[in-house]
């Protein structure tokens, strides 16, 4: 009998958060974050590759991306209104990503540095304009380069 009541507790539990108001609030937040991301994306287009400011803008975009993920998981997927123990079983394993990202990206970077140091042919092939690249694009490139110099 006890089991029966708890089952109905779960199925009809409307105690935790929600409401139409919250849905619309989160929708607006997600839309605004997306618009800001897009604005940054458009703004970033004219910046030079590998310049500090471009990296900073990319960092800001990643932070906004994580904010969007938080709102989707927390409110749309309702995780914020679940019991703390349950939240932890989902969120704590995600902490592995911190290590994954740091380890793998730095490994990629190290591979780049090693190849650039020991394989000069590779450097030439990957950093200089290729004659095989379509003329239309290379013309555009030249125009851009001319503008920067």
């Amino acid at each position: 009998m006890e089991q029966h009541t708890t089952y109905t507790d779960i199925t009809h539990d409307d105690s935790h958060g929600g409401g139409k108001k919250e849905i619309w609030k989160v929708t607006i937040i997600l839309s605004v974050l997306t618009v800001v991301e897009l604005a940054l994306g458009f703004w970033m287009m004219d910046m030079q590759d590998d310049s500090l400011e471009k990296h900073v803008v990319k960092g800001v975009i990643v932070i906004l991306m994580l904010a969007k993920a938080f709102y989707i998981v927390g409110y749309f997927m309702h995780l914020k209104h679940e019991i703390r123990n349950f939240i932890m079983t989902v969120v704590v394993p995600m902490g592995l990503f911190v290590w994954f990202i740091i380890a793998f990206l730095s490994d990629g970077n190290s591979f780049k540095n090693l190849r650039n140091e020991y394989n000069k042919e590779y450097v030439r092939r990957t950093t200089q304009p290729s004659p095989l690249v379509k003329t239309e694009e290379s013309e555009k490139k030249e125009e851009k380069k001319g503008g920067q110099e």
Binding site: T6, E37, I72
Partner: protein
Amino acid sequence: MSTTTATATSPKYWGGGRSPFNVEYGKVMMWYFLMSDAFTFGAFLIAYGTTRFSANGWPNPNEVFQSYPGGTHAPLVFVSIMTFILIISSVTMVLAVQAGHNMNRRGVVINLVLTILGGLAFLSCQAWEWTHLFHEGAWWGRNPFPNSNGSLGHQDFTNFFFTITGFHGFHVFSGVVINVVMLIMTLSGVFDKRGHYLMIEKAGLYWHFVDLVWVFVFTCFYLI
């Protein structure tokens, strides 16, 4: 009654006779499945990031993805439409779940139909984009787009693009199929007979996860 049990002291959750997480079994399992799926997508995206970090040159996404049906030279425009379609379909899914909470069958049906339409719209956009890129010469193993420094395009650019957006598109497709099944079950009154619409919540979790993954894919491929 429900509030008193929900605010019970924590040892009682593990005292037996009730769900210690106050979540239905199927929903817990859906969460853990999505967690494993998150690691799959995470592995894909980290592999992409590692390759990009190891490369001297990479195609400029603003030059590759600058087309929309009937035009070109509009970077980010088409993909932002796709993003908004997915966000809106996520909202209608939340509304469907909420209607289910209130046992409002009509509300569930309307919002599920809207969600399905959103999913189909997204898939159509993706189909158009893939076809367009294919006609430009891009496919697995073929990259016609030069790196932004003018050197020959990195081969893995298209490999990662088609693999990851394809895997995501497959998730959208299966999400649409799940939602269609939910719609049929709702229309035939299965949930009313059952006394609850919990199944819609599980389908909803999956659908939101699809939206969540797109947030990452969109940022990693089109913006950065």
